[in-house]
Amino acid sequence: MMSGKEYIESLRKLKPRIYFMGRRIESVADDPILAPHVNAAAMTYELALDPRYEEITTAVSHLTGEKINRFTHIHQSTEDLVKKVRMLRLLGQKTGSCFQRCVGCDAINALYITCYDIDKKYGTDYFERIKDYVKYVQKNDLMPAGAMTDVKGDRSKRPGQQVDKDLYVRVVEKREDGIVVRGAKAHITGAVNSHEIIVMPTRALEADEKEFAVSFAVPVDAEGVTMIFGRQTNDLRRLDGDIDCGNAKYATVGGEALVIFDNVFVPWERVFMCGEHDFTAQLVEVFATFHRQNYGGCKVGVADVLIGATANVAEMQGIAKASHVVDKITEMIHLAETCWCCSLACSYEGYRTPSGAYMPNPLLANVTKLNITRFPYEWSRIAQDITGGIVITLPSEKDYRNPETRDLIEKYMKGVAEVPTEQRMRMIRLVENLSIGAELPESMHGAGSPQAQKIMIARRSNLEMKKEIAKIIAGIKPDENFRKIRGVSEEEYFARFK
């Protein structure tokens, strides 16, 4: 397994083509805009080597018997699923940010399960390919990014109906030694600082859409891959010092990029689906289940940081003992722990798939994520409420460093006497970082927008059964248990009251 430092060194050996703000990024590891995201991902490596955390940050590979980073593991039990979300909460606490590596983990697990099923139906050899790829990832302790969301163009049209068919990643050529793909994937978390990119289709596809039914892995610096790193609220504050960012070391959310595949060649051994359109729905659903499982782990870890920051601000401003503040912070904790319950529940209710790998309960995983599209908005609202208007009016670090204004800021930005002004400023900025900007839309749309979860919940919740039990309770349909309990039918029992 690599250490955090070794991971950062490993990035220096790659030469991905990345652009940001009109310039090419020369060094992913060192660029001031990307470095905090790199640091957050590095934490996933570092904690795997720490005896205080290895119980959940490592696993034993079922393929090689070797000790591996849990992010490269294929889950072999429900306990593995639980350990994954425990690890995510821990990393959220340690970074206060997104550490990006779960997406690749979810991709290899979803492909492992789906490739097995494709092979069973079609006699293909995708399962051996994905097993070989997983071994390669485990042996080299790699971080693959998972790339699912196509750019989609006109949402009212299916992939093949787009004016420009490249708006969904597709196979443009099949060769003896591999395939050539073209298209783009949007919002790809951690792509710029990953070693590999795993591409999966974005939706269920029909028989006439086989060219879009493609899954594969390529190195981030493969010929023809270009990434355009997305802007975030306040991103250029990273160039202005370390206070105004709020979380200068680990940034906010994952750092997402538009990843373009311009006639990229993929050898067959890295192709995991090519034309099997009838398995696209399964792959999307299994991946989404894994990824939605995560959010009651990582986001709750980040919420732990925000709750701590809010409580610190309350103390620094002398309001910590006010009953409404105590109540509001308790409400934040309640919301966060509710999400944690969801992640644990969908993990404990997970099950074994025919491939041997385990996956979480899809209904509960979707409930987990749907709560995350709501609750972080509420706990952020409370954090801003307690912190006060200063969360958006605090003077800048540059004015704090300026000798002409420093004393004024020291004097007038003071909270309680015993806390240095700079500490209060840092804590307010942390609240700002975690409750304003990219953090909230990421909760909304990461792992799929709320309607996607609603569709899955509706599909998985067996509404017919609920209608039936309601009819039994309402006395519309016979209740077999009532007869056993009372020894007479409902009609006979209630006749005496009529």
Partner: protein, 86 residues
């Protein structure tokens, strides 16, 4: 005397787990303490009552799963070490 420390993963600890190790190291400087080798005594340190650190079937062990005073920790370690004496 060899003592192995085994931590749970620490996903949401209710107290500082590291304090237990610090107390042991401070009060028993002659012990050989490590994390993953066979030992005379195994000290499991779990961050909460779920007790994820604990491994069933361990012979001479201590299991901490909540905040304990320094005196309590020292007393428990002494007892475990006494059990190991020939």
């Amino acid at each position: 005397m060899k003592v192995a420390i085994k931590y749970c993963g620490g996903c949401n600890e209710n107290y500082s787990r590291e304090e237990v190790e610090k107390v042991i190291r401070k009060n028993f400087p002659d012990l050989e303490i490590f994390y993953s080798k066979p030992a005379n005594v195994v000290v499991f340190i779990s961050g909460c009552k779920k007790g994820c650190a604990f491994v069933h079937g361990t012979e001479n062990f201590l299991h901490f799963d909540c905040k304990r005073s320094e005196e309590e920790i020292v007393e428990e370690v002494k007892r475990a070490l006494w059990r190991e004496k020939p």
